[in-house]
Subunit: 166 residues, 4 copies
């Protein structure tokens, strides 16, 4: 991991995100990604809303979960899965964009504990904290099929299309 | 709530679910809904998958969260929001359908604590537990805009289109 | 683990519990312990109470945490630590005894996910559910110093006093 | 709350802590307490240890839980209870003292969401982060008996001994 530059990590992370049909469906973008954490963003389109016009909790959870996974993957420097997380919703996600910023609190040999803050932004307005999450990201055990994996140095030498299911 | 029959509750719940653009996008169905809990189900279509062919964690979380909200709403008999929940992923959600069953552990005056088990089902196979969640569902405070609300008796006398944002 | 009888496991578990000064301080008893789960119990003495006469939340959390660890240790068949857990307090723990029952939801190679229900009992009254918890118990990695470990077959052939710090 | 000075709040908080037999048993000290958060500390005496010489997880959880409650009580300016929290243990709590620092992330009308970092300190060594928690603190509903309540302005005009159970 150390051998990669920030731009290489970001490029790598975006390629992996592009491989997740669900992330493509929701229109998620990887804005930042380095050894300390990750930032994901998406536009709150109508299909991602509630009957009341704000982002569905499931969208907020998805973004927090994915950001936690990226942060943990960066820290562990390998393919990972989210083992568990908890999220507290603070305010309705009323706005145009969701931003999830996750950082690593502690990384051991096999797992990392990360936190994530999710902000909602309305046009021309400031970011408003709308949810907070905390969870465990685990090193992917060899046998297990890959889950929400974060990109690693291995990816650089592994052709992306070889893992694509589309 | 007590005055409603099971079929009335189920019908009511389905109307509310049909109002959530995100739930419509994911193709969620309300299979069961009564005073003790709720059961939600969806087909794992390709857009809901990982690069590895199983349901994205965000889809599993969404379904658990929504099932918890329905269970809490039924218990509290009013409009509710999910305050918080935690989820542990047990296995990759490899299969064709996801089923989330949530039940009420305790309901107070203003909030209910619920649990949810999420199962994945492959064609012709048995249900496999793939995630477990536990969370708090809170009575919606008057001022606050409605969030992931569960259906209540009020809905029966309130024209649905009046809350629609489509 | 399978080679042990239920009575051997219970005896083993009690020896390990007796080695935890904090558990001795709180007067915790291991009531049940097998491959499926564990049951811990303690009397709510005055020093374990709030200013209001019921058990302090910290006592309820301790008992739930320890029960989760025992359940996970039994399932993994090795020394373990609690990685994380969440707890929801449902009612004030007003009574004479606390009982925590933990069971295993899923056990993988390196970790187990468990649930725990905590009940409070008043003299001559029924058990009342006062808290619910869910958490992850992890196999103890060789290097790491032992934490809240659950008893395993190894203990049977390892003299207890060799791990004692008193 | 605003009318109280920092020193008044700290004094108040210490009187309330002194009323909790369990906190007295564990030797907890309130080091800091203001509208933004709270800091609790205790010495890791032998009775609070594991068979391996470090603080029992139940002690770490208790301190995190209590710090969260104080932080939430300060933000809500009323008597409160911990509704729920989750904790991730990062490292064995090997040292002489535990320090829990909790801060408020969001306070609504009836509840506050708080985070807590728990540090362990060995003689002459730096603080080491050993656990992180996140939870919900709720306004105490009138009817319910008081639980882990944080001090409020009301306490200033209410004689402490009137709530004592000793």
């Amino acid at each position: 991991m150390q051998r990669e530059t920030a731009s290489e990590m970001l490029e790598l992370g975006r390629r992996v995100l592009a491989e997740q049909p669900f992330s493509v469906l929701l229109g998620t973008h990887l804005v930042g990604f380095d050894a300390l954490g990750a930032e994901l963003e998406l536009s709150i389109t109508d299909v991602l809303r509630q009957q009341n016009g704000f982002a569905h909790g499931g969208v907020v959870s998805y973004l927090a979960d994915n950001a936690l996974t990226y942060a943990g993957g960066a820290a562990l420097g390998t393919a990972v899965v989210t083992s568990e997380y908890k999220i507290n919703y603070l305010r309705p996600a009323l706005g145009d964009r969701l931003i999830a910023r996750a950082s690593v609190l502690h990384a051991g040999r096999n797992q990392a504990v990360c936190r994530c803050d999710v902000f909602v932004v309305a046009a021309g307005a400031q970011e408003t904290l709308c949810a907070v999450a905390q969870g465990t990201i685990a090193r992917l055990s060899g046998g297990q099929p890959e889950a929400r994996r974060a990109p690693t140095a291995e990816d650089a030498v592994r052709p992306m299309h070889s893992r694509s299911d589309r």
